[in-house]
Amino acid sequence: MHSRARITALSAAAACLALALTACGSGGAENAGTDGETGTEDVTLSVGTFNEFGYEELFTEYEELNPNVTIEHKKAATSNEARDNLTTRLAAGSGLSDIEGIEVDWLPELLEYPDQFADLSDPAVEGRWLDWKTAAATTEDGQLIGYGTDAGPQGVCYRADLFEKAGLPSDRESVADMLDGSWQDYFDAGKEFVAASDGVAWFDSAGATYQGMINQVQNAYEDNEGAVIATDNSEVKDIYEQVLQASVTDGLSAHLTQWEDDWVASFQSDAFATKLCPGWMLGVIEGNAEGVEGWDIADVFPGGGGNWGGSYLTIPTQGANQAEAKKLAEWLTAPEQQVKAFESKGTFPSQVEALESDALLGQTNAFFNDAPTGEILANRATAVEVTPFKGPKYFAINDAMQQALTRVDVDETDDPDSSWEKFVTAVGAL
């Protein structure tokens, strides 16, 4: 058929074009990869960040220390936008910054392509970070693709006033004692609270709570070879059922989806009494709950420690100034600098030494009843024991799981069984 012949011809033409461009593109990248000396030649380094890294003043400081270096800051608002940007440029084979900030969530997909990133392992930085922080960014072969910046150790934020009303202990030491233990202990305390409170839920969302639980599982969705085990893993199914039992059957959830308008508005309406909160969540709560009194944070996390979020600095091998870039990345992620970033924007450091600094340990938060947040979060950071394995499909599977929970907890379009079936279908389609 004529039309088919024509289509074939067109595809072939496209192929040539595509090949030609890719070939040229990668050729350019190779030439650029000069890992040579780091002299005093003038160099401009571009640094891509998103959200809040707290680096603005540090860039100025570095430029003063190194007059030959000019730093160009490329900032994206959200991590989603930064990820789209990074992906486009990785796919196109050019255009990345000399240093690219990445979020811990993207590590699994990037670790699959370690040749896109410079190996940053270096005796000089050994032991700089908490073990789990480094482990997450290290390939099986021992290549370190990113230097840790901040971390998101989690405690439990709670409403002391509502606790008091419901007859529960409300000072942060007693609350920590009460919630210390397993997730079942946390849910049991919730049942006690809900029984005594007037329509106030225990936590905001099944999905957020599940996330705290699943991050304590070593191999949740994939085994160490990357084979998908999510739908057969009884650990996953158990957590799924436990959190939905607590959320729906026991009525502990406020049936909200994080970040949605209803969730934002709920901070003004006493909708729930506790929330799992990483350090960076404190500012979110304070902003949304402005004018509400009674928030506090307890130095505890059910089932062991937990981390949510945090970022790394990587050096793409596309870049022309990898040696200079590495110097800058190493300097930025040194404990002294991260403490400064913490002081300026509250990004909580992932460096061991930084957790011992007086500036950090002395920090208190007025909105959270003057809680010693620096000390609490430092304790929470060291309490993290498990580095969950996240293979290439981790986030797609986790998205499907979050949707499964939302269908039951928020949307009420499914019961736990039918929603699980849909989860199985979704995982099968990956």
Binding site: S11, A91, A429
Partner: protein, 328 residues
Amino acid sequence: MAVTDRVHTPPPTRQRAPRDKSVKRLAFSQKVSKWDVKLSPYLYISPFFLLFAVTGLFPLLYTAWVSLHSWNLIGGQGEFTGLENYEFVLAQPFFWNAVGNTFSIFLLSSVPQVVIAIAIAAVLDANLRARTFWRMGVLVPFVVAPVAVGLIFNNLFADQAGLVNEMLVGVGLDPVRWHSDSLASHAAIATMVNFRWTGYNALIFLAAMQAIPRDVYEAATIDGAGRLRQFFSVTVPMLRPTIIFVVITATIGGLQIFDEARVFDQAGLGGADRQWQTLTMYIWELGWGQRNFGRASAVAWLLFLIIVIIAMANFLITRRIANQGGRQ
């Protein structure tokens, strides 16, 4: 499509009595003129096609090539798989769900949009005071920053705290579950789309209405036709080409709906049960979420074919309806 062949008279050339000296020059200028006539059209349309070759055709063919391979967005080209990606996505319930959602949102947005736009245009066509004010006023939604549109409609359609539900409860109705009921979510998204485009389309219709000569109406009035009758028997048939233009552009835009559906919640995946996941969002999920560039490209090509087919069908249907409207 909306192309009609016209019978043109051949371009005239100068016909003057030949004079000795200018014969050669005349012949030369006739030659130039001939080439001018022949080549100019191609020259005039060439900017579009040149640009399209670089910024449109290459991406299109690149996508076709990608769709025939196993291709990771970051990892790049894998092995040639033929039509496997197409077979895979066509077998996915998620694909057909996205097709259904796309058409549902498309119908809910384009049909009311065209009807309301005509109604607004008819009103604006009246002998109004402060005409410029009203006409520019309906175009204001077009300039509102997208971030503001997303924010405000999320605020309006929040399931618990949203203004729309508060008003529904206020008048004694049940609140609508905008983010869990499929049809309700489509209606909310269609509202966003209609908000942005109705005024714009109204002005296009108004433009066409203003070009209808007044004595046609006068003749109709003498024949005793009421205003409503005039509208359907005179205005609508004479708007036919404009309706076709609007329907075709609205079809193409509507079937590619992305932004409004994506900002309808924070996750941007089309709802926990994919209640409002459209085809373009499915492309996005496959390509940018799962990094499966091959499958995403396959869906992109399928969508392209769907749009072409529907745009053709719409063209034929619209033409027929508008014709019948004139004969009733």
